[in-house]
Symmetry: C2
Subunit: 425 residues, 2 copies
């Protein structure tokens, strides 16, 4: 009950801030973003002092060394946060643009205009820089945001928010445009997800369990950011050199991220040429392979050669290893590859390697994923790589925003109908 | 459990149908729509026989005479359903279009292409023609649909679906592209709303209780179609003739629909001129008025003059009468009008009557509604009037589709990234 009052109070202030932001010009929002960059740099010592508290507490949360490393606000990372604000300020204003306009035969003018969404709740578990990036993108698009990060970064997140609010205030914009909350329990996540009419959109970023909990509880619309089970399909007419370098890049360049490949599908037409080449190459990179039976038939030499070469089980196809592990399967045809991807994939990013335009077009049309790559690594599935500037995340939903989400995806539109006394008969 | 199997089975068939539809050309989908028109006309007698069963059962459901009238499949209404299919076929293909494309400095080609959403569940309570319209729009956009109508129209809905499936089959398209289910209980609505991964979108159309129940249960994304609490604000610089004719049109032309006006806000600057004019005019049309105190101060003559003139209570501002009843309030300023609308309105459609461009722009920017009218009746808020062709409904949500939804709003997009062996470094 007290929590419910808290969300009503926070979201009420955020709504008032959003309604002011919705009426600002792009220049004003950009000036605020530049002021945020200045404030982040000016408060470096304070941010690092707050970060020290989180780092001191990290051991108590049983964080791994890698997680502790990601938590650290180094000089470089603070500079990156400030730099991101400047980059967001430099982007085209996503708000106010007329998307479509026409005059009806009766003389009514119909216009569709981009406007901010309102109040956006972002629930995340990751690095403190997400606080700055998310706030910056919401501000760019004229939205107020309520940010609920993880307990391990709460002091850093609050300190970042404090710097950003000071910057907003210096530009005569309401501080409530950016709110970081220190309630890091699940109950508050539920309150946010159920704040219909107060919060317009919830974006959960993080583990599957968190996203599932938000989706189950939510009455507010949610754009889910599940991780990716990405595939590389090597078609019968693939350039094998391209296939090899893309497979290794997609698996090994950064295996812990959502656009890394998790399954390699090889067309039976080319399996005998490609597998004896790619399997040792992947093993050289330290990749553990989980191969379907058919693969072993084609590759008898590999059986038992290494503890890195295992037989795939049914569980492997749906798995996101986020590690140096790759499932491998030989498929009968392009349609078998498409069927496998649409059945086991997560609709994130899937690639075909082929020299056939026809095969590429068929794959592109039939694979039901947010990004489909032709002769390119799945690792390119990223807002920055697509030219969107900073990204809110990668939506695995189909509605509103699919794939990498930029500032424009944090807007909606309204219809503006202008007459001169028109009535309906 | 049995129900869960049923939804899995139905949605599984629908998904397979959707994946076939997603790869059809627009001409093929249009041919199927024209075949649907032919089938609706050819099955007129059968549709009317099924409709007779519903009409015979209607008394048992305690339907009002008006509801029974809306249930009737007259010759004209069957012709209208067929005609709607032809009109939908004539619309521009919403699928396959490139929305945006550019080349990155590294040579990667990035394209955003419109594609169908997949499987759409529509839950409705209204007239049997919704079955044909919804199926036609889903088919146009390359989606399969699962339609769950109300129990009072179940025989009519099943007969319409049977005609449409026959038409699909005649065009070598899967019958499972259109499924009407005869489970009219709430439990099945829940199963649909929770069929994540099977159904991509649920659109509930109907009463508030139904939409609320779907939203509470849903894990599948929902686009809500709440009814409208629409406002007319008469600004100080309004043309009073325009203000009068629009107010009467917005309230009286068809009071039972969601884009009818429910509250009249009159600027204090013009209240003494406008209220003595509009109040008798509305009362002549049989409208009951619920006036705030301030109005009575301005209009002492009216007090007690008629049982059609009552004092407004706090409940009136949020009410959707859907009847010849109008709440009336004098407001201090345009900002007070905006505040009232954003506080009590439902974000559907709100109008300003003014000769001031500046006031119009301020109102348009600040009112947070899907449609904002300037010197035009709220009754124009409609897909047909906006030139969208047939409409799925009017979304009161902000995400994905806002306001009148046409066939294009039943699509999403995918990113297509083409390289020549690009890897990320």
């Amino acid at each position: 009950m007290a929590e419910q009052n808290l969300i009503e109070q926070l979201a009420g202030s955020a709504r008032r801030a959003a309604s002011i932001l919705a009426q600002t010009r792009g220049e004003k929002r950009n000036a605020a973003l530049l002021a945020c960059a200045v404030a982040i740099r000016a408060h470096k010592a304070g941010l690092q002092a707050a970060n020290e508290k989180d780092l001191a507490a990290a051991k108590g949360f049983a964080l791994s060394e890698a997680m502790i490393d990601r938590l650290k606000l180094t000089d470089d990372r603070i500079e990156s946060m400030a730099d991101a604000m400047e980059q967001i300020a430099a982007q085209v204003d996503p708000v106010g643009r007329t998307i479509a306009a026409h005059n009806r035969p009766n003389g009514l003018r119909i216009e569709k205009r981009r406007v901010p969404i309102g109040v956006i709740g972002i629930i995340y578990e990751s690095r403190p820089n997400v606080t700055a990036d998310a706030a910056g993108l919401c501000l760019k698009a004229g939205n107020a945001c309520i940010l609920r990060g993880g307990k391990e970064a709460v002091n850093s997140n609050l300190a970042i928010a404090s710097a950003l609010r000071e910057a907003l205030s210096s530009q005569n914009l309401p501080e409530a445009a950016v709110t970081v909350i220190d309630k890091t329990d699940r109950a508050f996540v539920n309150d946010m997800a159920r704040a219909e009419g107060l919060i317009d959109l919830i974006i959960p970023r993080g583990g599957k369990a968190l996203i599932r909990a938000v989706t189950e509880a939510a009455t507010v619309p949610v754009i889910k950011h599940y991780a990716g089970n990405c595939h590389i399909y090597v078609h019968g007419e693939a350039d094998l050199e391209v296939a090899e370098s893309i497979t290794i890049n997609a698996k090994c360049q950064r295996p812990g991220v959502c656009n890394a490949a998790e399954t390699l599908l090889v067309d039976t037409a080319i399996a005998k040429q490609f597998l004896p080449r790619i399997i040792p190459a992947l093993m050289d990179q330290g990749v553990e392979l989980r191969c379907a039976k058919l693969t072993e038939d084609i590759l008898p030499f590999a059986k038992g050669d290494s503890d890195k070469l295992k037989e795939a089980t049914a569980d492997d196809w749906g798995n996101e290893y986020l590690d140096l592990v790759l499932a491998v399967r030989v498929v009968e045809s392009i349609d078998a590859a498409i069927e496998h991807i649409n059945k086991y994939g997560s609709g994130h990013t899937d690639a075909i390697i082929t020299r056939s335009m026809e095969a590429a077009e068929h794959f592109v049309a039939a694979v039901d994923s947010s990004s489909v790559m032709v002769n390119a690594s799945t690792r390119f599935s990223d807002g920055g790589e697509y030219g969107l500037g900073a990204e809110v995340g990668i939506s695995t939903d189909k509605l509103h925003a699919r794939g990498p989400m930029g500032a424009e995806d944090l807007t909606t539109y309204k219809w503006i109908v202008t007459g001169n006394g028109h009535i309906r008969t």
